[in-house]
Symmetry: C2
Subunit: 291 residues, 2 copies
């Protein structure tokens, strides 16, 4: 079997590495990256067996995994599906699903495609960020599962199971709406926290001295790659703007409680926010890899 990975960064590189190192059957991993340096690095880091161009990857691979920024997926997916044969499966890993599903909804080979979003990542990027166990115990979302052939769907689910993921099904709109709150909003809040603190604390040495692990935790996502995230924010603009408006409104209320030193009101907000404990417990104690 041959698996082709398009985009050899954090997600694509980690999928490739996991297959190459852990697979028991004989699988050859082909890789393509439009950045030649990334391609060479992925080969050097042994994430893939061979680097090739898109035509060869499309001609030879049984499963094709697309792990590039959302805007690039939208650019390449229709032409890629045009060339796909009826025994091939194309799986994407994009962080928003509505615009992708909408774009190819009438494509004659829509059923060879599986719209997926493995919920895993770190703030690092590029082939050097590829690591083992990135997906282990995490969740995977597949959208519009009925629009893929049962056999394509089965192959995709098997792949994500191999990575240690449990797959859930959601409609693209629900997926994007929820992700606006539980992922994209966190990223914006972290980027802007970082921006605000850097702007004020021009003398970076001072931040270094005073910032503690609490700040590190909330600002961690601000290390994320802009070229990954601006297309996500663009694609999910509608839901993310609603989430941000709510966040800003709640911040403004808390700002006023703090300004007026209204202790009871502050306490009520924080007591409510504390309920996140039980939710976070679920994340940190995620289910074990079933493989």
């Amino acid at each position: 079997m041959k698996i082709g990975v398009i985009g050899l960064g954090l997600i694509g590189g980690s999928i490739a590495k996991e297959i190459k190192i852990r697979s028991i059957s004989s699988i050859e991993v082909y890789g393509y990256d439009n950045n030649d340096k990334h391609g060479a690095l992925a080969l050097k880091n042994q994430l893939i067996d061979r680097i090739c161009n898109l035509d060869i990857l499309l001609a030879e691979c049984d499963i094709i995994i697309i792990a590039i920024p959302i805007n690039k997926i939208l650019e390449v997916l229709p032409a890629l599906l045009d060339k796909v044969k009826m025994d091939q499966v194309v799986i994407d890993t994009g962080s928003t699903k509505q615009s992708i599903c909408e774009l190819i909804k009438d494509h004659p080979k829509r059923d060879r495609f599986v719209a997926a979003h493995p919920l895993a990542g770190t703030e690092n990027s590029g082939p050097n960020a590829a690591i083992m166990d990135l997906f282990k115990g995490k969740k995977n979302i597949i959208c519009e599962e009925n629009k893929s052939t049962p056999e394509a769907l089965k192959q995709a689910i098997r792949l994500f199971e191999f990575l240690g993921m449990e797959t859930y099904f959601m409609e693209p709109e629900d997926h994007d709406k929820h992700m606006a709150y539980v992922s994209h909003l966190s990223h914006v809040s972290s980027f802007i926290l970082s921006q605000t603190v850097l702007n004020i604390e021009k003398d970076e040495k001072q931040i270094f001295n005073l910032a503690s692990t609490g700040f590190e935790s909330t600002a961690r996502l601000a290390k994320s790659n802009a070229s990954t995230w601006s297309p996500i924010f663009e694609a999910n603009s509608k839901f993310l703007v609603v989430a941000l408006d709510q966040y800003i409104l709640n911040l403004q209320k808390m700002r006023n409680f703090i300004h007026e030193k209204q202790i009871d009101e502050m306490n009520a907000v924080m007591a409510n926010a504390n309920k996140i404990k039980s939710v976070l417990k679920g994340i940190t104690k995620s289910p074990m890899n079933k493989l």
Copy 2:
């Protein structure tokens, strides 16, 4: 030597435990907590050698460490200093310093007091949150060091060195201003992120399914104790409101870029925010314990 710890939660409990377990000289650790259950738990968890009332602690201890919420420090500190003898040292650990220093600036025994803020913590609270190595490799701030006797100052610095901390000196106003940005703002952003997501995602199961480690990281501080943080927000209201106004303004700008799908502007914000990498590197690779 006898050391008395007032407040046996995360900070006080961790200081007591560290002294009790790691001290090579013969030190007896006295503990007081206005919550009887916390006192009993601290004794049961062997954080302290004995539990006592405030009068006994004040009468018998050489060093008195105050580790209670800011508003409680402001309540008890003047009366406590009234009773302190000239060979005793009182050290507080409060997260804001201006209101405390202002309150006792004319107290006849001001020089027995050292205004400190060990920059360490977790989102957990109470005696069960007390852990070893909480302070190791972290920074400690002492304010108005010239208002303490050289000998009181020396004893305080030695204590924080024993805990593995490096001490820096700052004026209270500078301390509070910087903490507004690198600690208090992070806490507000995290509390409100959690509140916003919980409000929208009424079905908590959905958050559980979709939230990943990125969300966990930014929402972690929302688990923090309201009774610790509302007095901090109140005491640092002036600087924190300025920081929040700047944060909200920057969020509003980013919200507009996302709404208008202005990719270049989003990228510029994120590229700037990425500069936090070098700062965070300093936090995670904090200097080794010098002891």
